[in-house]
Amino acid sequence: MIKPLRFLSLLALLAASAPLRAEFVVQVTRGQSEATPIAIVPFSTPQESAASFDVAALVGRDLANSGRFNPMDRADMLSQPHLGAAIDFDDWRRLNNDYIVVGQLVTQGPDRFNIQFELFNVLTHQRMLGYQIGTNRAGLRLASHQVADLIFEKIIGVRGAFATRIAYVTVVGHLPNRHYRLYVADADGENPVVIRDSNEPLMSPAWSPDGQSLAYVSFEGQLSSIYVQDVKTQLDIATQQRHLVSAHAGVNQAPAFSPDGKKLALTLSTRDGNLDVYVMDLTTQALTRITDDPGIDTEPEWSKDGQSLYFTSDRAGGPQIYKISLTPGSRPRRLTFQGSYNARPRISPDESQLAFVTQQDGAYRIATMELSGRADPTVLTKGRFDVSPSYAPNGAAIIYASRDRGRGVLAVISSDGRSQHVLVSQEGEIQEPAWGPF
């Protein structure tokens, strides 16, 4: 069905990363021909085998998944230096590398490690980066993602987003015994932690701007309601506080935190079932109605300045995307005109671009549109059921829900559509990814 989603398994990288525990299987499905060649030499590791951790493999996988880098197969390396002084630049240049990363994982005490690494330009021999990151064992993955972030930013000029988190929903089991779980995991799908577990649907996870809490919709009690739950870094379900923030009669849906984290946009219904967008003050729980139209108004997304909302409305027939100022009495402005179905707007972090779901040839796909100018939307994906787009906090990629051989998967595509990879869970259907902040 989604043929493009299963060819082009890039590199022996997956083999190289085999020692890493894999909650997800990652398949690179769209490579980028002009990816920058880089050598990430395996780091020296402490003598104790208990401390072994393959920093270089994780860094290589992050960089490859971004589509911007093509890490060299370590089997082709002629030598494996760990310090800049030991690099024979001519060798690495002959192997067509633009950059080289060398480093060490050093034990500094009980459960205390230091990752030291250096980045060099192979042609100029210039030392571009040198950092050390202290961590405990539990933090080795995060520290390795931070190494990848620093390399990405130095070479690409955009902050890396590898050391961030995603939230998503899984559905396990078959009818009539479906089971829903809300997860938070590392951006590469590792370290998943269950945030909520329910026999009734869970939907629409939305991050607070500080990354400390998630809003989501739960149908527990067979009614839709919105909760806000703590998801601090040291995740411990037992101590996580959870607040019921909206349980009005009817629909309580589509939560979205304002950029300052003080308000929540949401969708509520009147008694006769008309859905409109509201804004709730999270301190006082006071509600302000933003839209007032007999059509379905939903899926609010805040503008960067917190003064407007993007939303989906079918007031003109099919669903289209609109923007409305929060100033009382404002009229919404329609933004999408091509096609009969454009919904679920998400803005890029700099608000230059809008990502949304569009219908094309009977399929649902992720499209982007520049918010300034008059350029036509670009359809980025090729699946039949591509929905729920969410930007990485650096704007370089969009994560979305897709389908592979009848199964719900997460896919990540670069914002320019040139590279793509898929995360296939061991656990059944995955849906509704939401990429957290830095």
């Binding site: 939907m203 969708t267 859905l275 379905i296 939903t298 669903p319 929905v387 009848g406 849906q431 509704e432």
Partner: protein, 181 residues
């Protein structure tokens, strides 16, 4: 895994056709008119599996007729794609429910709106709500008190049937009428 899934779906489909209730825990009150016996269309128990198996959605009806044999027959109203209009073939069902509710003012009915999986999840919640409201209005037009009816929209989150073709979708675009205990 894939194989198990397929078998699971086949079994599920067979069970559905054989007339097994989807939610055995929801007990419908003593009302006699609320439930058209599944046995009138096919087997009602484990032994009644000789039901005629017709491919779902193979006709042009958008699912209405195809569901006449289903276990949910008599308490589910099916809709066309992206539509919330109640089709004429469900008028009788509405009347049956309306009569029962007006005769028993203490009865409470929950209208659960659902959509097929296509489109965005939150917009589908809106669509499901619209369908539930269409049924609510139709019941109220026939004299049912507002206080007897509640609605909920599950959008695409609780499909009756798994699958990504029109046969499955037709089964999922529905409002389920569920008496509350």
């Amino acid at each position: 895994m894939k194989r198990i899934l397929c078998i699971g779906m086949l079994v599920c489909g067979a069970v559905l056709l054989a007339g097994c209730p989807k939610k055995p825990t929801v007990s419908e009150p003593s009302s006699t008119t609320s439930q058209i016996p599944a046995s009138s269309q096919g087997g009602s128990g484990a032994g009644g599996a000789s039901t005629t198996v017709t491919p779902f959605g193979a006709d042009e009806s958008g699912g209405g007729a195809a569901n006449a044999n289903g276990p949910l027959a008599g308490r589910v109203i099916y809709f066309d794609f992206d539509k919330a209009e109640i089709k004429p073939e469900f008028a009788e069902l509405i009347t049956t429910f309306a009569k029962n509710l007006t005769a028993h003012p203490n009865l409470k009915l929950r209208l659960e709106g659902n959509t097929d999986e296509r489109g965005t999840r939150e917009y589908n919640i809106g669509l499901g709500e619209r369908r539930a409201q269409a049924v609510r209005r139709a019941l109220m037009l026939q004299g049912v008190a507002e206080g007897q009816l509640t609605t909920v929209s599950y959008g695409a989150e609780r499909p009756a049937v798994e699958g990504d073709d029109e046969a499955a979708w037709a089964q999922n675009r529905r409002v389920e009428l569920v008496y509350l205990p």
